[in-house]
């Protein structure tokens, strides 16, 4: 299944540590990039969308442990736990919240983000 996640700009650093815990390596620190989406209130979000296995939601909400690849302790586990504490998971789109990491299931990422009340704020090249 596909989940699309809205990460408030202020949570981005924590959420990228969380992404590394759930991911495969240091490159997952780039999961949440520029905060180029906004809600109706003008709050900014970085968004990501990815395909996950059936166990992902369970693992994501379980006790976090440092992955074996992180022998150099580049992950800030406290930050990852803060992001996990802010996680709101929904099987259907819900409105993005400026103090929550809102993750929603849906096959079409853009449609899900729109249903979460988000629009792009990018300029033009």
């Amino acid at each position: 299944m596909r989940i699309s996640i809205a990460c408030p700009a202020a949570l981005r650093a924590d959420a990228n540590h969380y992404a590394m815990v759930l991911g495969y390596g240091p490159a997952d620190a780039r999961t949440y990039g520029a905060a180029s989406w906004q809600d109706a209130g003008g709050n900014l979000y970085a968004c990501a969308s990815l395909l996950v296995g059936a166990s992902f939601t369970t693992v994501a909400q379980d006790t976090l442990t440092r992955p074996t690849w992180d022998a150099d302790s580049i992950i800030d586990m406290a930050a990852a736990n803060r992001a996990q504490a802010a996680l709101v998971f929904s099987g259907a789109p819900v409105t993005a919240m400026p103090d929550k990491l809102t993750a929603c299931v849906g096959d079409n990422a853009l449609a899900v983000l729109a249903a979460m009340g988000l629009t792009r704020v990018e300029a033009e090249p």
Binding site: R30, S49, W69, L110, E122
Partner: protein, 410 residues
């Protein structure tokens, strides 16, 4: 040119984009319909095998995927283990077994650092891609999940640099790719737990044979971030990479276009949204060439921009998403010409002053600007970038080839 040749070029019969690079032009050719070129991870350890899997590595076919000369010394062990370190658990002799009857090596773990052998390669070219491969065998009698790995890392257990298959009692093929960051690189064969968290238990074994490291020429595209990988997708007899418009992108290493101020870019895409700017492909970041769909928010357009010291674009409207198209961009800095063709027809040419200079030695980003903004929403069926102008026949043949890949009727 005889009539048969003209017909083959017009309809793409027998044509391969590889011919565009026969004269030595730099560039890249990506073919998502060729599963042998796709891997789920950036290190190339896990092939893409079916629809719905992420793509972390896509081989460039512009150099023909012809492997370079063998760089490993004594990788088949016909007589001895010369060339391999013996301090880390290598038994120190060839074992003719039923597993590798013509020779192989056995590593027996002592439960700590004595669980590997290695060989140092020299003379590598920084930035070039190398493919590492071997046959490996893990006995079912091993303790726990202990298994065979091949990689470029030692004690850090970096998954990105290690290939392993947890299967037991069967000879398996392991492979990875790596990009050289220096002139030398150690290659490790080891016995570790399948989650790569520790060395193998005392007494656990792994057999290896046919170790090979060879350069894999090309400007391959990667994506190391899991959430940013496009999805390999099949349907209606076609295959494509799906870019979700929120973060999916790939990037090549640097491609040396410094010898040219002419560029030809071809792509077959299905554009699924006009809501935000979609960067289909771009050299460097905003200062070279790009192909966009759309370029302007909410507009049903495609564009191609070519930049010497001044950026000039060819922009065509009238292509509302969803739409499947073959797009061709042609840029000529010195000639002050940039054109865009869609579905086999020239749509517009802009002869504005592009200033001067050649293109640079930079990555091509696919699906976004610098993997960080202007995310393209849609499908990519094929892509060719060539650091030279193409003839009319070459353009027609390439467009026909990409039309067939995307189901477009020209």
């Amino acid at each position: 040119m005889n009539r048969l040749r003209q017909r083959r070029l017009r309809f793409g019969g027998g044509f391969s984009p590889l011919s565009l690079f026969a004269g030595g032009a730099e560039g890249a050719w990506f073919d998502p319909s060729d599963l042998t070129t796709l891997f789920q991870d950036a290190a190339g350890t896990t092939p893409v095998t079916t629809s719905g899997q992420p793509v972390g590595l896509m081989f460039d076919k512009s150099k023909g995927l012809v492997l370079g000369p063998e760089l490993i010394t004594n990788g088949t062990f016909p007589v001895n283990v010369a060339g391999w370190s013996t301090a880390g658990g290598l038994s120190g002799q060839v074992r003719d077994t039923i597993i590798f009857p013509s020779g192989g090596i056995l590593i027996t773990s002592n439960g700590s650092l004595g669980s590997f052998t290695s060989q140092t390669l020299t003379g590598l070219v920084v930035g070039q891609t190398y493919q590492v491969a071997c046959n490996a065998y893990t006995p079912g009698t091993n303790a726990g999940t202990d298994t065979a790995t091949i990689g470029t890392q030692n004690a850090s257990f970096n998954l990105q640099g290690t290939a392993l298959k947890p299967g037991r009692d069967v000879v398996q093929n392991l492979s990875i790719v790596f990009v050289a960051s220096g002139a030398s690189q150690d290659i490790y064969l080891s016995v570790v737990s399948s989650n790569l968290s520790r060395w193998g238990n005392n007494g656990s074994e792994s057999y290896f044979d046919n170790i090979s490291v060879r350069e894999l020429p090309g400007n391959h595209a990667t994506q190391a971030t899991g959430a940013a990988r496009p999805t390999y997708t099949e349907g209606s007899g076609l295959a494509w990479l799906a870019f979700d418009g929120t973060g999916d992108a790939m990037a090549t290493g640097n491609i040396d276009f410094t010898g040219t101020e002419k560029i030809n870019v071809f792509a077959s895409v299905r554009k699924l949204s006009d809501a935000g700017v979609g960067m289909i492909a771009e050299l460097a970041t905003g200062t070279e060439f790009f192909m966009a769909g759309p370029q302007y928010v909410g507009q049903p357009d495609y564009s191609f921009r070519s930049t010497g010291s001044i950026g000039v674009e060819a922009l065509i409207s009238g292509f509302s998403a969803p739409t499947t198209d073959v797009i061709t961009g042609i840029g000529d800095i010195a000639g002050d010409s940039v054109s865009i063709r869609v579905n086999g027809a020239l749509r517009t040419t802009n002869t504005g002053d592009q200033g001067s200079g050649n293109f640079s030695n930079s990555p091509i980003f696919i699906g976004a600007r610098n993997q960080s903004s202007f995310f393209f929403t849609g499908n990519l069926y094929g892509f060719v970038a060539r650091g030279a102008l193409s003839t009319a026949a070459e353009i027609a043949a390439t467009e026909a080839y990409l039309a067939a890949k995307s189901g477009v009727t020209l």
